[in-house]
């Protein structure tokens, strides 16, 4: 029997949120709103996902002229493969899952 990847519920929520539009670059605050995960939990999680090669990040210019560029994220092919192994029934996206950290 294949072993299921050992990832936290919040990571699964974030992965599924990113999988909704896998080609689009998503911003940190956008992901916070979409998943309900707080910044203190979300960013360390994004760091880990990036370290593991499941996420790519880049700076993109802000659409608002006066505002600084933003860091944006999207899944890599391995991240997409990982996200597709998650059963969506177990994870509810949007404001139900709150991070422990603020």
């Amino acid at each position: 029997m294949p072993r299921r990847p050992n990832i936290s519920k919040q990571t699964r929520t974030a992965l599924l949120a990113l999988l909704e539009r896998p080609q689009d670059w998503r911003y940190g605050y956008e992901l916070m709103e979409l998943t309900g995960i707080a910044s203190g939990t979300l960013y360390p999680m994004l760091i880990r996902l990036c370290d593991q090669g499941n996420l790519e990040a880049q700076w993109v210019p802000s659409p608002h002229e006066s505002r600084p560029p933003r860091h944006a994220y999207r899944l890599t092919p391995s991240g997409m493969a990982l996200a597709r192994t998650i059963e969506p029934d177990n994870v509810r996206i949007a404001n139900h899952v709150k991070g422990f950290a603020l």
């Binding site: 050992n6 990832i7 936290s8 990571t11 911003y27 940190g28 605050y29 916070m32 707080a38 910044s39 203190g40 939990t41 979300l42 960013y43 360390p44 994004l46 760091i47 880990r48 370290d51 593991q52 990040a57 700076w59 802000s62 505002r67 600084p68 560029p69 933003r70 860091h71 991070g99 950290a101 603020l102």
Partner: protein
């Protein structure tokens, strides 16, 4: 949010950037950039998360953990050496020369261990502690079995057991810290 509160929140984001380990600074720069795009009502919560993440990342960064582990090993060895010198000093007024030598000898070994750990790292701790544990265990066994009858053998045994406990703790800590980086990479 008033301009004053806003600038205070921004200062906290900058503080988070400074707290974060150097290897992770780009992520905290990303958080700082995102701050301008967070609605004002949610900014303090966002800032609190930034600070929490910065402190957490700092505390679990291998460099910080290595620093703590090495400080505990070096500091602990120096404290133990000082206690042994104090013990040897007390023994010097009771005419128990062997115990005095034992105390100063132990202190010297721990000072050497502390210096070697500070200079060469965990490998030095492990290389020094492991053979010393073997020798002390042998000595303790001999005293325990009565193979080397000495006056105050129970005191010697107690002193050796104390040293063994300290050395085993140091060995375990050095071994754990040396394996920390690969372990950290497995965390999700």
């Amino acid at each position: 949010m008033t301009p004053k509160r806003n600038s205070l929140a921004r200062a906290c984001v900058v503080l988070a950037f400074k707290i974060a380990p150097p290897a992770r600074r780009s992520w905290f720069a990303a958080m700082a950039a995102e701050f301008d795009h967070v609605p004002e009502a949610a900014r303090w919560r966002f800032v609190a998360g930034c600070l929490f993440a910065a402190v957490t990342e700092r505390m679990i960064s291998p460099a910080f953990l290595h620093e703590v582990a090495r400080s505990v090993l070096v500091g602990g060895a120096m404290v133990w050496a000082a206690l042994n010198i104090r013990f040897a000093g007390r023994m010097s007024v009771t005419d128990t020369f062997a115990l005095e030598v034992f105390g100063y000898g132990t202190a010297l070994l721990f000072v050497v261990g502390a210096i070697a750990t500070a200079r060469f790292g965990y490998r030095a701790t492990i290389s020094l502690a492991a053979p010393l544990i073997a020798v002390l265990t042998l000595a303790a066994t001999m005293i325990w079995l009565g193979l080397s009858p000495t006056p105050m053998s129970k005191l010697y045994l107690a002193l050796i057991v104390e040293d063994l406990v300290i050395l085993m703790f140091a060995l375990a800590l050095a071994g754990f810290a040396a394996r920390l980086t690969p372990f950290r990479q497995r965390l999700n």
